[in-house]
């Protein structure tokens, strides 16, 4: 009697912990990226749009890191974004371009890296020089209307 109670309580606690473990590892971001084993690269943008800390950093659509820190430089009037990039991916040329893209029409924003052709590689704490700011939908529509009206002239 007592043993079977202990057994069922053991099973109960076991299932509970397994469920917690599943929520942690399978059903959240805990397993997907950790900041140890990563190196940091920064980039400056005129406009980061809706980029947030923990937004993805992708190359060719593959996630290689995430945004660690977003700050504003008072001197140059630019946004400074620090990224953690997984150390597995350590062969980015110095002239890599960082752009802010939107996944889908209404999706969230991420940083896309396009490797360049330089022989020298990006090191820890280095800065990406070539950046392209986020597209702001209103600006795009504005530009589109502007160019249309020029065509029609």
């Amino acid at each position: 009697m007592l043993r079977s109670i202990e057994l069922s309580v053991g099973i109960f606690v076991g299932i509970g912990l397994a469920a917690l473990f599943m929520l942690a590892m399978q059903a959240s971001n805990l397993s997907s990226f950790t900041s140890d084993g990563a190196y940091q690269v920064s980039a400056r943008f005129d406009n980061i749009g809706g980029l947030k800390v923990k937004s993805a950093v992708k190359v060719s659509g593959v996630k290689v890191g995430q945004v660690a820190e977003i700050d504003y430089d008072n001197e140059t009037f630019e946004a400074v974004v620090v990224m953690n990039i997984d150390e597995k991916f350590d062969k980015f040329p110095r002239d890599t371009i960082a752009s802010i893209f939107t996944s889908g029409l209404l999706g969230e924003q991420y940083i896309g890296l396009e490797p360049g052709g330089d022989d020298k590689l990006l090191a820890n704490q280095s800065e990406i020089r070539h950046t392209q700011s986020a597209m702001v939908l209103e600006q795009l529509i504005g530009q589109f209307l502007f160019s249309k009206s020029k065509e029609n002239k």
């Binding site: 509970g16 917690l20 929520l23 959240s28 209404l106």
Partner: protein, 250 residues
């Protein structure tokens, strides 16, 4: 006015009682068998209803969200949305409501009957403190069981949503999990959910043991106390959920 002072008196008595129960908890680590026995009657007995309810809640969520999301072509986010609603809200809250109905009422009835049949008085006269031996293990068992039950509820809910979303409605399995892993934060979402269910476990167990201990020791008194446990703890869980959500996600 008289009603108000009556309610405040009860609240005060319940708080003092909680203090006494807390004071009895350290002793329990020497007699952990008492707690294990209660985890059985409080937790294991609630397991079945929690799992079944969790499975269906997950399946219904998947169905409902699928039809809304498909009009935006965003069915890939199905898993993420189900996961977030379960882990943040539905898991802790619904599991706590089920817990109040199944385990809370049983606790109140059991303690109330022990009072009505003079078992609690009998222990006192044997120089055994019933708060330490009877109440504290039940309270602690409730506090331990609640987060585990809520986690099971959420986990099986996600599996239910997976079976409906992926197997039945054709959402991409990879998208289902990758969206979850991209958007559900462990600390922000999962851990806050666990904290919520821990708080709910404390509230429901507290109300249940207090109502039992404080009931009028007659059949009618026990029946009323049992009803009060379910009503009060359900209301307290929902109100507390609002407070916690406001603190955690403001």
């Amino acid at each position: 006015m008289k009603v108000l002072t009556g309610m405040l008196t009860r609240l005060g008595r319940a708080s003092l009682f909680l203090g006494k129960v807390m004071a009895g908890i350290p002793q329990l680590f020497l007699r952990f068998g008492l707690v294990v026995k209660q985890v059985y009657s409080v937790g294991v007995q609630t397991l079945f209803i929690t799992l079944v309810a969790g499975l269906f809640v997950g399946m219904v969520l998947a169905l409902q969200l699928y039809y809304t999301l498909s009009t935006f072509g965003a069915t890939d986010t199905l898993g993420m949305l189900v996961d977030l609603s379960l882990v943040r809200e539905l898991g802790p809250v619904v599991a706590a409501l089920l817990f109040a109905g199944r385990a809370g009422s049983a606790l109140t009835a059991e303690i109330g009957l022990m009072k009505a049949t003079e078992q609690l008085s009998g222990l006192e006269m044997m120089a055994v403190d019933p708060v330490e031996r009877i109440i504290a293990p039940r309270f602690l068992a409730g506090v331990i069981s609640m987060p585990l039950l809520a986690a099971m509820f959420s986990a099986i809910g996600i599996l239910g949503a997976y079976s409906v979303g992926v197997d039945l409605l054709g959402v991409d399995a990879g998208a289902f999990w990758s969206q979850i892993q991209a958007k559900v934060d462990f600390y922000e979402d999962v851990l806050n959910g666990v904290i919520k269910s821990f708080v709910f476990g404390c509230i429901v167990s507290w109300i249940a043991v207090f109502e039992g201990y404080d009931c009028i020791p007659t059949s009618e008194g026990v029946a009323r106390a049992t009803t009060r446990t379910v009503v009060y703890s359900s209301l307290a869980v929902l109100a507390m959920d609002f407070v916690l959500t406001a603190i955690m996600y403001n």
